[in-house]
Each structure stands twice: as structure tokens, then as C-alpha cells.
């Protein structure tokens, strides 16, 4: 498997066929004397910002602290939840069991549901 080609930026689909997000980053573990091991997939604006330019990170961090849902800064999904690696990555958990949809729920609750016809 090629991490950049087959994993990074791929769509994550949960066990109910809902979109979880995209693989914004991946964490590898390099233990002494063994092969590197994939530990977790990461989702979050901060990681995306870092991939464009590190100068963006403080800005995103500040925006997230001023506004939006309270959640972990980076959503981590253990690699053990990945069941299939195809064009998309399939997970054996539900999107709602992670914090990946925190923004979706926050916007839905604070904004969209309050507009007539939103629900």
C-alpha cells in the first residue's frame, strides 16, 4: 500500500455508508528495529492548514477557539477501524461515534435548524 496514493486525501465512509470526512493526515509510528506502523488517520482544519503552509495554523487555531463547536482539535480514527481500502476507505464504526461531524452538528443546531424549513 502506498500511503500518499492510497490513503491520504481519500474519502472515509462509515458502516452506514455516510461520509465521515477525508483523510487530512495520517500518523505513523516508527518503533526501534521494526517496520513503520500506521497508527491513526486524522481529520481537522489544523492539519489541512499545515499542509498548505504552517503560517496558516495559528489563524485556524484562533478561529476554532473563537467560534464553532468544542471538540478535539484533531479527530483521530484508529487504523484498526479501516475495513477496506478502495477508492474510498471504509470504516467499521459510525460517523457519529467519532467527533468528525462535530461541525456538521454544531452548524445544524445553531444555524440551519433555526431557519424555517431547515429540518
Amino acid at each position: 500500500m502506498n500511503i500518499v496514493r492510497d490513503v491520504l486525501d481519500k474519502k472515509l465512509i462509515d458502516c452506514e455508508n455516510r461520509e465521515v470526512g477525508r483523510v487530512d493526515g495520517a500518523l505513523l509510528e516508527f518503533a526501534n528495529g521494526s517496520q513503520p506502523k500506521m497508527v491513526q488517520l486524522e481529520i481537522g482544519g489544523e492539519i489541512l492548514a499545515a499542509r498548505v503552509g504552517t503560517w496558516l495554523v495559528p489563524l485556524v487555531r484562533w478561529l476554532a477557539s473563537a467560534w464553532g463547536p468544542r471538540r478535539e482539535r484533531i479527530v483521530a480514527i484508529s487504523w484498526s477501524h479501516v475495513t477496506r481500502v478502495e477508492k474510498d476507505l471504509h470504516l467499521d464504526i459510525r460517523a457519529d461515534d467519532t467527533q468528525a461531524l462535530a461541525w456538521e452538528h454544531w452548524l445544524s443546531e445553531k444555524f440551519v435548524s433555526r431557519i424555517p424549513g431547515g429540518k
Binding site: E19, V20, G21, D24, V52, K87, W103, E104, F111, G117
Partner: protein
């Protein structure tokens, strides 16, 4: 049967979809200033758009992915964010122009100015996106858009000299006013080949669950639908060439443009023009607002379908809400929609390679398309036309802005 209906609707969408504020304004300006001489630019734009829409439909039917999703998959977030930002900024300008186009048409009907109409127009577009679904939006825009056939009827009534018309299909150099000529050629190309159309078409193919059995339907819809639409734009150019050009009227505002329909239709001309423009611009505005939502949603991995309720896809629906609200602001403070149109069409042409080069890389990637990758002809046509558009833009925009020629 489902396919037959889809093809029929797709054809009508093509007719209404090609015409919008950009193509109407640039075609009218071209006809008024240079007679039939710029017809070739419209035909070139049409050819490029036909190839690009066919590709984007084929891409989604075969790979089951939208073009935007694949752009992120294939090129990574860094490059993707550059393309997304570039295309979104230019398309946002086009959205301002489309909303302004509807407001201008209503201004003719009511006398009330653009700033007054901007908000109600944007609100209605938003309401349809909020409550409706993709099919409703596409079908509404396309069936009402049939009224634009009045431009073809106008041509028939004016009885053009077809010899002069056909000579305009071949590029030729203008005798005077070269800078304006090339600038208009660029704007026409920009108005025809908008990248958002690629993304929208491909998103539609995925929402309608196309598979490889749709490849034939795709060819008919993209080819014939676009050709019909482009020929109506040619009709606009011809009417302007026959009515405005001989009188030496250069189109600088909307009222002048509407005048061109009063010769073929003395009583209804202005109304027909205003209604045609209002409907096509309104349809385009909804499609653009949706396209921008799709671009963000698909690129960032949100659930993004126009079929679900807004609260289930809060991020997706928030994007078009914010975008539509944002696009009304310039109109509220009195920005001239025709000026925004001219600028955004030229910018679209100048930034074409940004959208088209990565798209072509995808179209030649057998990981997505298996044995259905692009052939030599489609690659060559699209590369050539978008290169021409971009080069012309780089030369013509400074000439137009700083004078000369």
C-alpha cells in the same frame, strides 16, 4: 424510459444552460461592434464545452466519483486548495453578475433599480435550493428557459444574409479597434467554457447515479444540448449584428441590449428579452451557488447532496446560503452587473488552465477511467482551445484595460 426522459431534459438544460448573462452580454456586444465577425469565437467555445462536458459525464459514469472529489484524491489537498480557491473566486464574481442580470431584467419591467431587486432575487434562489431538489431546479430552469428560442425566431424574422453569416464562422482580423475585438473574443470564450459547468455536470451525473450504460446518453446530452444552446447565443449575436451594428450602437448598458429585439418583435421585443435574460440568469445563479457548495463539500468530504434536508447537511447548505448572501452585497451598494460580467468572463478565460490541466490529467488516468480514458482528439481539442483562450486573455486584457490596439 427513464433514460429517454433524462436525455430530453438534458437537451433542454443545454439550451437554457449555455445562455446566461455572460454569453448574452458578450454576444450582443460582439454583434453590435463587429457584425457577424466574431461568430467563430462562439463556435470555438461551444466545441470546447461539448468536449469538456462529455468528459466530465464520462468520468463520473465510469469512476462513480465527481471531478472535484477526484481532484482532491489525485492531487492532494495543497494543489486542490489552489484550484478550489481560484475557481471559487472567479465563479463567485459570475454569481454576482447572474443575480445582477435578473435584477436588471426586473428593473426594465418595474422601473425599480438593481439594488432594490438584488435581495429578493437572491432570496428566491436560496428558497428554491433550501426547499427543492436538484431535479426540480434543473427542470424548472430548463423548461422556462425554452423561451430563449425567441432569439432564433428573431433571426428568422430578420432574414439574414447567410453568406455574410458563414464568413463570420471563420476567424478574421478586424480592420479597426483590434484591442476591443480580441477582448470580446476572450470574453466569449470565457462565457462559454466556465469550469463550474464541468463540476456541476459531473455532480449531477453522480446524483442521478449514472453508470457506464449512460455513456451514449451522455454524448447526446453534452453534444446536442450544448450545440443548441450555443446556436441560440449565435442567434443573439446575429440579432445584435443586424439591428444594432448598422446603427452604430455599441452595447454599454442593458437597455441598449434589449433594444435589439424591438425590430423583430416591435411590441414584445423588450419584454421577451427581459424575460429570457431573467430566467436564464436565475437558473445559472442557482446552479453556481450549488456548484460552489458541491466544490467545498466534495473536496472536504462532507455529505453533500441536494436531495437531503438542509439540517442533515448543515455545512453544504450553509455554504450556498452564505455565498448567495455575499453575492448580493456588491449589488446592494450599486456595483454595475454588466461591468462585473465583462470582468468575470475575461478572468474565467485567463484562469482556464488552472481548472483544465488537472481535469485533463484525470481524464487520462486509467485508475479512474479504465479503458475509457481520453482519446487523442478530445485531448488535443481541449488543450488547444483553452491555450488559445488563456493566451488571448493574457494579451487582450491589458490592452483593453490600458487602451491601445
Amino acid at each position: 424510459m427513464k433514460k429517454v426522459i433524462q436525455v430530453a431534459l438534458g437537451l433542454i438544460t443545454g439550451i437554457g444552460g449555455f445562455l446566461e448573462i455572460g454569453s448574452v452580454t458578450t454576444s450582443a456586444q460582439a454583434g453590435a461592434a463587429f457584425g457577424f465577425q466574431l461568430i467563430w469565437a462562439l463556435l470555438l467555445g461551444m466545441l470546447c464545452l461539448i468536449f469538456m462536458l462529455e468528459m466530465s459525464g464520462r468520468f463520473s459514469a465510469v469512476s462513480q466519483h465527481t471531478v472535484v472529489e477526484a481532484l482532491r484524491d489525485r492531487f492532494g489537498f495543497g494543489f486542490f486548495s489552489i484550484v478550489l480557491t481560484g475557481v471559487a473566486v472567479v465563479v463567485f464574481l459570475v454569481l454576482i453578475a447572474e443575480l445582477g442580470g435578473v435584477a436588471l431584467a426586473l428593473k426594465i419591467a418595474s422601473g425599480a433599480g438593481v439594488p432594490l431587486w438584488a435581495f429578493p432575487v437572491a432570496f428566491l434562489a436560496w428558497l428554491l435550493l433550501w426547499k427543492g431538489n436538484l431535479q426540480l431546479i434543473e427542470n424548472l430552469a430548463s423548461i422556462l428557459g425554452l423561451i430563449t428560442i425567441c432569439f432564433a425566431v428573431a433571426v428568422y424574422r430578420l432574414q439574414p444574409q447567410w453568406e455574410a453569416v458563414s464568413s463570420g464562422a471563420i476567424p478574421s482580423l478586424p480592420t479597426s479597434n483590434k484591442a476591443h475585438y480580441w477582448f470580446l473574443a476572450v470574453s466569449i470564450l470565457g462565457a462559454s467554457v466556465s469550469p463550474y459547468l464541468i463540476y456541476f455536470y459531473s455532480a449531477g451525473a453522480v446524483e442521478e447515479k449514472w453508470d457506464e450504460s449512460y455513456l451514449g446518453a451522455n454524448r447526446i446530452i453534452s453534444g446536442i444540448g450544448t450545440a443548441f444552446g450555443a446556436l441560440l447565443a449565435v442567434a443573439v449575436l446575429m440579432v445584435a449584428a443586424m439591428v444594432l451594428h448598422p446603427r452604430g450602437i455599441e452595447v454599454e448598458n442593458f437597455e441598449q441590449m434589449a433594444q435589439m429585439m424591438t425590430t423583430p418583435f416591435p411590441r414584445w421585443g423588450v419584454a421577451l428579452f427581459a424575460i429570457s435574460l431573467a430566467i436564464t440568469c436565475f437558473g445559472a445563479a442557482m446552479e453556481i451557488a450549488l456548484s460552489i457548495s458541491y466544490m467545498f463539500g466534495q473536496g472536504l468530504g462532507w455529505n453533500s447532496s441536494e436531495e437531503a434536508r438542509p439540517a442533515d447537511e448543515a455545512r453544504f447548505s450553509t455554504v450556498y446560503t452564505v455565498i448567495l448572501a455575499g453575492a448580493t452585497l456588491p449589488l446592494l451598494v450599486g456595483v454595475d452587473p454588466i461591468k462585473v460580467t465583462t470582468i468575470s468572463m475575461a478572468l474565467t478565460a485567463a484562469t482556464l488552465p488552472l481548472a483544465i490541466v488537472p481535469f485533463l490529467v484525470l481524464m487520462n488516468d486509467s485508475n479512474y477511467l479504465h479503458d475509457k480514458t481520453n482519446g487523442l482528439v478530445s485531448n488535443t481539442v481541449v488543450v488547444m482551445i483553452s491555450t488559445i483562450a488563456c493566451l488571448l486573455a493574457i494579451v487582450a486584457i491589458p490592452l483593453q484595460v490600458f487602451g491601445g490596439g
